[in-house]
Structure formats: C-alpha cells, structure tokens
C-alpha cells in the first residue's frame, strides 16, 4: 500500500536520508524504532507530505507524492499531496487538538469542511468514535479541560473520523505522563486488531514487540535492519541495533 524507493532528503545542507527503500502492505503493522533524531519521525512525515524530499519516490495507494520546491509549490502538487493525506490519518506527539473547538467540534470539523458530509450523520459517527475510546461524556469539553491521555485519544478519533486507509502515529505517547500511556496504547491496539494498516514511531519497546508485524530500526537517517519483532529483539543482525536495544531495554 505504501512504497518508498531511494528516498533522499536534505535539510539546510544536512543530508538526512541517503536512499531509503521500504514497502508496507495493506493491513500491515510496522513499528519504527531507533534513537532520537534517527529520522523515524521525519520518515513518517515525508509519507504524508508534511516534510518535502528532494529525490526518490513515495507512492501511497497508487498516488505518487511529488517532490517539490518548498517556497513555491505548484497548486496541482499541493492537491496531490492532499489526496494522499485523505488516505492517511496522522497522530502527533503533541496531540495538536484545535484549542478553540470542543472535543466534538474537533472531530466533525474536517469531515464537514473537507468531505462535505451531512452534519447530523457526522455528529452521530463522532459520538460513536468517542464511545469507542470511552470519553463520550467529554464531547462538549474544550481540549484544555482534558488530560493528556484523553487529548491523544480524541486526536486519534479525529483522524479516524476521516475514515483513513492507514494510520501514522508519530511518537504518540512520548509527551504523556507514564500513567496515561496505557490508555492510549490500548486504543491503538484495538485499531490494529481491527486490521488497520498502521505505522508507529515509538520508544515503547514492549508495545512494539506486542503489536508489530515488522519492526524497522532507524539510525542516522538509515534503516539498519527490518524484520519480525522476535528476530529484531532476540537476535539483531547489526551491532548498532544491539547497542541501541540494550541501552533502551535497560531503562
């Protein structure tokens, strides 16, 4: 469903990606791990066009993302990127809920504005999403009145309301208090169990091991190795993966 070929990206003279290749199939759950700054977040952001790249190919469900001039993008390129984004739901580390809208408004905003869906039906759908993540009673609250865990769950519901074909999670639990990590991970786990194509960048190793079909290890803008979680966590192929894992598993 997602195909990346020979991806090159440099930023302010600094070479980040030097030719990345990766294929992700429909229904697959891929977890990206690696040290901070290794490029796993940037990689996810490239896939939905929040970061531009200079060379290579990213194809999402038969649509090829254009590699474009950041300062003067062509209107048709922006439209192509938007089409890709409609297929991908994105969840950010900082939640990024709209602070001036209630929980319900956050969820129905994009379907109504972008897909022109019927308002009553959209609200019904939003309420059932909120029921699934167990915060139906907060529909009328503003984001600042919610805990971090609740905000992240709403952010997931907001992305799901656009009925995406795949979900991208960019370190979804990194800015949460430890006691709230579980509630967010369990929502993601439910999604995975329903068969959603899922890409997750995370530092939660046990979670990665539990849900991943495949683990991708990033280091310094390169993929060190990929493979089933059992293989990566028990017998990594490279020395650098071993060092990284021993460092994070010690904590």
């Amino acid at each position: 469903m997602i195909r990346v070929r020979d991806l090159h990206k440099h930023y302010e003279g600094h070479q980040l990606f030097k030719g990345i290749n990766l294929d992700i199939g429909k229904g697959e759950v891929v977890v990206f791990i690696g040290p901070s700054g290794s490029g796993k977040s940037t990689f996810l952001r490239c896939i939905n066009g929040l970061e531009y790249f200079q060379q290579g190919q990213i194809i999402v469900d038969d649509i090829e993302l254009p590699s474009i001039d950041r300062l003067r993008p062509e209107t048709k390129d922006l439209e192509t990127i938007r089409k890709v984004r409609l297929k991908l739901g994105m969840v950010f580390q900082q939640f990024n809920l709209f602070p001036h809208m209630t929980v319900l408004e956050n969820i129905i905003e994009a379907p109504i504005q972008v897909l022109n869906t019927d308002r009553a039906a959209t609200i019904q759908n939003a309420l059932s999403l909120l029921r699934r993540i167990n915060i139906e009673q907060k529909a009328g609250s503003y984001p600042e009145e919610l805990s971090g865990g609740e905000q992240q769950r709403v952010a997931i519901a907001r992305a799901l309301a656009m009925k995406p074909e795949a979900m991208l999670f960019d370190e979804p639990t990194s800015s949460l208090d430890p006691e709230m990590v579980g509630e967010v991970l369990s929502v993601i786990k439910d999604l995975v169990n329903e068969g959603m194509t899922t890409l997750i960048a995370t530092h939660e190793m046990s979670f990665a091991r539990e849900v991943a079909d495949r683990v991708v290890v990033f280091d310094s803008g390169d993929i060190l190795e990929t493979g089933p979680p059992e293989e990566i966590f028990t017998s990594p192929k490279t020395e650098r993966t071993r060092i990284f894992l021993s460092r994070v598993l010690k904590q």
Binding site: N96, H100, E109, Q113, E144
Partner: protein, 500 residues
C-alpha cells in the same frame, strides 16, 4: 574666610530674589523690550497666506506680502527690524497673549469679541467679503442665493460669522485659505466667501472661478497688541497715521493690487477710532458654557461615527493584507508587505492630505467623509495587519500540520483553524488600536471634517475660551475612550485565564 561663605551665599540669594521680584517692574514696557531686543516679533501665518504674508516663490526662504512690507515700515519707525513669529492663523491671538509675539497682524478683523482680549491699533485696511463661485455657476448671483448651498470659508473669520448668521447655509470650515478655492474648483463646494484680498489672490486668477456679486460687509484689519501694551499701541497708531498721510500705505496697496476707493476712508478713521467707535458685545463672550454643549456633542457624534466606520475598514482590510502577505504568492505578497511598510512608515497627516487634496490633481475627488474613512481605515489597516501577523505566528506550527494532515486545504486550515486562534491573540491589541484611532480621528479636521476637535477649534477661536472648551472637549474624548480601554483590559485578562 571659610566661615564667611554661607553669609556671602545668602547675600547673593537675597539679591537674586530681589532682582527676580523686581524684574517685572523694572522692564517697564514691551516697547522698551523691543528696542533692547532690536526686533519686533509679529505673529502671523505664512501657510497659504498670500497676499498677506507668504514665501517668495522665487526664494522660498524669504517671506513677502503686503503685511510684510507694513511690518517692516512699522519696525523701521520703532527703530528696530521686524521678525515673523509663525503661528496657525486661528491661534495668533492666544499666542500673542501668551507672549509669543509683540503684535499680531495677519488680516485680523477688529471684532468686539477680539477687542475684549486685545487692544487693536487703528485700522490699516478696510476689507470686504467677496463671494466666489465656479465659472459656469448661474444660480448664485450673490450672498442672498446661498440658502442650502455648500459654502466654504476660513475658521474664525468674519465671513464665517456672516454665513452662520444667515441660517440655512451649509457652511464648510477650513483652516487654510487655499483649500476652499481648490475644493470649489473641483466641485466640492458651491461657493466661497472670504475677505477680498484672499479672493483677489486665490479666487480671481483661477480660470475655473469667478466673482459673484459685489463685495459685502465691511470691516477693518487692525494690529493686535496685549491689553497692557497701550504705549506700544499708541506708537503703532502714530506710525500708521503717518503711513496714511504720506501715502506710503497706499503705495504698498497699489503694489499688491489691493487699493480701492474704500481705503481712502482710512485717513478719516483716526478720529472715529479714537472716539471708540466699537461697542463691545460682552454677552457673547460671557455666554454660559452649556450653550456650547450641543455643538460639541454633535462633533463627538461625528467622531464616533468616523472612528467606528474607519475601524471596521481597518479590521477587514488588515485581514486581507495579512492573508495575502503570509499565504499569497509573489508579487501579490510583496505588494501587501510594501503597503504595510509604507503606511506604517509615513505620517497619517500626509496620507490624509494626499488623499483629499492630492488625488484631485489626478482627477479623483473624494468627499470629506469618504476621505476620512479611507484615510484612517487604510492607515490603521497596516497596523491591524501587523497585529494579525503576530497573532498568526503565535499559533503553534502543529495546528497547521494537524489541519493539513486531516486533508484540509491551506485555505480551509487558515480560515477555520489558524485565524480564529490568531484573532483571540490579536484582540487586545486591536481594541487598543481602536482607542488610538479614536483619538487620531481628530486629524481628519484638516480635510474639512467638523468633528469634535474641529468643533472645539472653531468655538474656541471665535470666543477665545480655549481653556474651558478645551477641558470639555478633552473630557468628551476621555468619556468615550475610557470604557474602551476597560474593555481592552477585560479582554486581556480573560485571554490570560483561558486559551480559547
């Protein structure tokens, strides 16, 4: 020796105190001071002041005019030279009384109101009021045809009083004598009534204008001195009498094309004025202060009206500018940036002058109200744009990313996600700007809008009650702006408490 220092010091101090106390008595008269100083300070307004006093077109650093020559004659007779003290025409008398000048001479009509404030010399010119209309005007043949017409004149002049007292005339008050004729020529006015010398210089030579009817009214220009300077007045009277009898005054008037048969009467006026020909109308000066309230309140109403409409324009245009600047493509975004920088970097006053008096040069003539709205609105739009920009850049980057990742176009994201948050951040600043605009609206008085400040200026210039009326006008401004600043503070507090 050291012990003596305090005593010496105290002696010096008592001496200094004595001198300071005695000083007012020692400087016996202004005449003495003028002689010691070596020049006579004469208050006048050279801005648009032809043919009285104006910069020489051939050498703008030099002032010329018939009053310049007269001032030189008087100064020479006093054994000194004349030096001009520039002041706006309608504040010449207050400036004189404050001591900024020794005399005020600038086509100042001898009126009962003014005679209560200052002493006037013998008349040095007999003026009449001349009506000027457009060349193709047929319905206005004289002052009797002015009912319902827009007639321009100068603030604080006798012509203004004549027009006001006629009733039913739409009087437009100007603070310069050039502007009414300009406005008449481009059709903003139906007629202009002003002193003949002004009409002769500014109206007559204009091919688009003509005189209507014979001059009306008759009055005298006099040289004003402070009440206590009777000695100076008497000296000036002597000088004027001599200038009349020797024919020197006539020479000056002939040279400036101001001589007419009426001036012959100047010679006979000496007696008349010595017998105190004028009766002071005490009651007009002593009118109770509340009689001015309706006029001031009407001015305040116009101020509010102008401010509200201009602010609405500023808020809207500012938004358009910001969106184009931040999200538009070049060259549009560059134009928006240029607009903002130019409007913020030049004085509002000059923008107003260009808009109202400058645009007619290229064939665009705005009425005063439109020019006021556009002038204030377009200026403040630049400031609002900057506030919005600050608001937008204070919205976290993640908000745009979240909106885009949901498939929104940039347009929807800006409109639905970014701007609502930016507005909340910019709101206290915008409210503060509204207060500032409210006060800046006084500047539109230069484009013939009679709002609160102009109303005050007109009333004060004709009654010379600058102090009381000024306090009332200031109080009115404060009464209107203070609730606004309370509102701004309330909004700020509310925003501090809550992010939404």
């Amino acid at each position: 020796m050291m012990k003596n220092i305090p005593r010496v010091l105290s002696l010096f101090i008592s001496l200094a105190v004595l001198l300071l106390w005695a000083a007012p008595f020692a400087s016996a008269s202004s005449l003495e001071k003028i002689r010691q100083r070596g020049y006579l300070l004469w208050g006048s307004d050279a801005e648009g002041g032809a043919p009285y006093i104006f910069p020489d077109p051939k050498d703008p650093s030099k002032l010329i005019g018939f009053e310049v020559e007269l001032a030189d004659e008087i100064a020479r007779e006093l054994g000194v030279t004349a030096k001009q003290a520039q002041n706006a025409w309608d504040s010449l008398i207050p400036a004189l009384m404050r001591g900024d000048s020794d005399i005020a001479m600038n086509g100042i009509e001898i009126t009962p109101q003014r005679e209560k404030e200052v002493l006037f010399s013998l008349p040095y010119y007999i003026y009449t009021e001349q009506l000027v209309v457009k060349k193709d005007e047929t319905s206005i043949k004289g002052v009797d045809d002015l009912k319902g017409k827009k007639v321009g004149t100068l603030s604080g002049t006798v012509a203004q009083d004549i027009l006001m007292n006629m009733g039913g005339v739409d009087v437009k008050i100007y603070s310069g004598q050039v502007e009414p004729y300009e406005d008449l020529a481009i059709g903003r006015l139906d007629a202009v009534l002003l002193d003949l010398p002004i009409a002769a210089y500014y109206g007559k030579p204009n091919p688009k204008l003509k005189y209507a009817g014979l001059p009306v009214g008759e009055g005298f220009y006099g040289i004003a001195v402070r009440k206590e300077d009777r000695e100076l007045k008497e000296r000036i009277d002597e000088v004027l009498s001599r200038l009349v009898s020797t024919g020197r005054l006539k020479d000056i008037y002939v040279k400036w094309d101001l001589w007419n048969e009426k001036q012959a009467k100047l010679a006979g006026l000496e007696k008349l004025f010595q017998e105190k020909g004028y009766v002071s109308l005490e009651e007009s000066k002593k009118a109770p202060i509340y009689t001015f309230f309706p006029a001031l309140l009407k001015g305040a109403g116009i101020t509010v009206f102008i401010s509200v409409i201009s602010m609405a324009l500023a808020v809207t245009l500012g938004l358009v500018l910001t969106v184009i600047r931040l999200y538009g493509r070049p060259p549009l975004s560059n134009i928006a940036t240029g607009y903002i920088e130019i409007y913020r970097g030049t004085p509002l006053l000059i923008q107003l002058y260009i808009l109202y008096y400058g645009l007619p040069n290229i064939g665009i003539s705005l009425n005063p109200l439109t020019a006021a709205f556009l002038g204030l609105g377009m200026n403040y739009a630049a400031y609002e744009a900057e506030l919005y920009r600050a608001g937008i850049s204070a919205v976290p980057k993640g908000q745009m990313e979240a909106a885009l990742s949901l498939g929104m176009t940039r347009g929807i994201a800006v409109r639905r996600v970014i701007l609502p948050q930016a507005f909340r951040i910019a709101l206290p600043g915008v409210t503060n700007d509204f207060i500032a605009l409210f006060k800046d609206s006084s500047l539109v008085s230069v484009i013939a809008m009679v709002e609160l400040t102009k109303t005050y200026g007109i009333l004060a210039a004709s009654t010379l009650r600058f102090f009381e009326l000024g306090l009332i006008a200031a109080l009115l401004y404060f009464a209107m702006s203070y609730p606004l600043s309370l509102l701004a503070r309330g909004l700020e507090d509310k925003l501090k408490r809550s992010k939404r």
